[in-house]
Amino acid sequence: MTKGSNAGVDRWRKFKNAFMIGLSVLSALVVIAPLFVIFGYTLSRGIGSVNLDFFIHMPKPVGETGGGMANAIVGSLMMVGIGGLIGLPIGIIAGVYLAEFGKNPFGAAVRFMSDVLSGIPSIVVGIVAYVIVVIPMKHFSGFAGSVALAILMIPTVTRTTEEMILLVPHSLREASLALGVPSWKTTIRVILPVATKGITTGVLLAIARAAGETAPLLFTALGNRFWSTSLNQPMASLTVFIYDYSKAPFTDWNNQAWAAAFVLICIVFLVNILFRLVTRSRYGIGNT
């Protein structure tokens, strides 16, 4: 790179520099814009229909106005809950393994597999749940949906648990070991309590992701227009509700779909903001 002694060359370089910087700033704006546009639109179309009815009433038959999605809310809560009960412990304990003992090739393999798992399309996870739960049971069920969600939660929670445990200062481990506390007790009674806040928000993140999933529920839990809290039967969910009601030709139903979408997006955003606040040390460049 030679220093331009020619004023014209310098001016061209300066222009190119300014132009490229401008493009870069522009692209940042273009990228952030959809966030506000989508959230804003969801807000505007959804907030009108969000009322108490919405949360506590059942869907009304075609043609009747009003009604709510109580069964869908409860269904989502149940499936995310059961899915969490299955998937979260697996992920958390695997994360503990990776943090404590994972500096070997097997640990690297587990981490790799966890990352690969997180990249598998959720509809494929739905197919797997179909094959291993719906086929043997010979019917759709909320339980099958829970299994699909459990699988989806595992990679997120494994990695965040590992990261949170590794963030605990080494000096605490030393202090505990020096007191003559065995290594395993040190991990459980000294290290984990300190990492708990971070692990919890990782859990919330995984739950929020699962709560927003639609595809894997389409042919596992299927959906249910009626009230049901039985995991042994098809079960309604917030996301499938949005899908069904948005495709329907009734404006009233469309509005309800938007209301549900608004509630969903708010929950997800809140959890993400919480996660960012708690893991502020991960904020910013180069802190991965």
């Binding site: 790179m1 220093k3 520099n17 493009l23 870069s24 700033v25 522009l26 692209s27 940042a28 990228v31 952030i32 959809p34 966030l35 989508i38 969801t42 412990p89 697996i90 304990i93 695997a94 503990v96 393994y97 404590e100 994972g102 097997f106 640990g107 587990v110 790799f112 597999m113 966890s114 990352d115 690969v116 990249g119 598998i120 399309p121 509809i123 996870v125 197919i127 797997v128 094959v131 595992i154 290594s183 395993w184 929020a208 927003g212 999933e213 639609t214 595809a215 299927l222 996301t239 949005i242 899908y243 779909a257 938007w258 979408a261 997006i265 997800v268 960012r276 910013g284 460049i285 180069g286």
Partner: protein, 340 residues
Amino acid sequence: MQTYLPRKTSEGSRQQTGGRDQLSEPPVVVFTQNGKGKARNVGDLVFKNLTLFFAAVVFSLVFLMAYEMYKGSNLSIAKFGWKFLWTSVWDPVRGDFGALPYVYGTIVSSLVALAIALPLSVGVAIFLAELSPDWLEKPVSFLVELLAAIPSIVYGIWGMFVLVPIVRSSIGPFLTKYLGFIPLFTGAPYGFSMLAAGIILAIMILPIITSISRDVMAAIPNAQREAALALGATKWETTKIVLSNAKSGIAGATLLGLGRALGETMAVTLVIGNISRISIHLLDPGYSMASVIANEFTEATSDLYLSSLIEVGLLLFGVTIILNAIARVIVWSVTKRFAS
């Protein structure tokens, strides 16, 4: 009470290692001589094995999934073999299935998404890694991550209610009018189109390409930037150097974004039109692998039908796994190369 053993002087020591600080091999360690002393604690053993078990569960999950999907697609694999990939017929009545239109739709919509997203993502990554001051970088990064958090169904309904009409009434006519001589930019006036799917996918994969590209660029040592600036380079010229170093990392990020686009279901299903055809026109509707599974899985009336759909899922599974694996290896090796 022990007899005190005075220290030998250095010259007379029997265990002199020649005065060197470095050995050629690590020495034998006394305390594991007979296995005693180390990890006598039963608790440690139980804890390690318990956690190991769960880690093994996570490890084997992917293999389990592959196995189950392979088992489920047995029928159609046996019947159609490889021609499943390049036949276009999809006839549940006659029991003849070929996934080409869906493969085509998935690939084209994803490529369109990449074409739109890649320059934007790299632009934002440059902005975040090179140009923006600290106080701006953090909020903007956060906003990009929020974009990733939006559930796909919300993208889908927004796409259907907002984007599709825009494509139908503005973008479509615009492209047809000014670029219509290229077949790519014409097509049906429905709005539901490959293009709409590409646009919505682009928005969805922006965050992942951006954040990984930004991380890779940030991992490049400042020494490189300083060297360039000291030679009189402008900010943009310095950035070009950083980019060339980060090239493979950005490629990895792109692959990851591509993987995400290939597997996206709800957003695509609601805007692509779900018409099984292969067309060069981006404005024509199409069908993707994930969409056909979503739409027809519960309608599958025969075992062969179901098996064909599962095989489509298996294809999706295989492709995304391979892409992900390659991408992660690339990204890992790039950031490792620059980690001091």
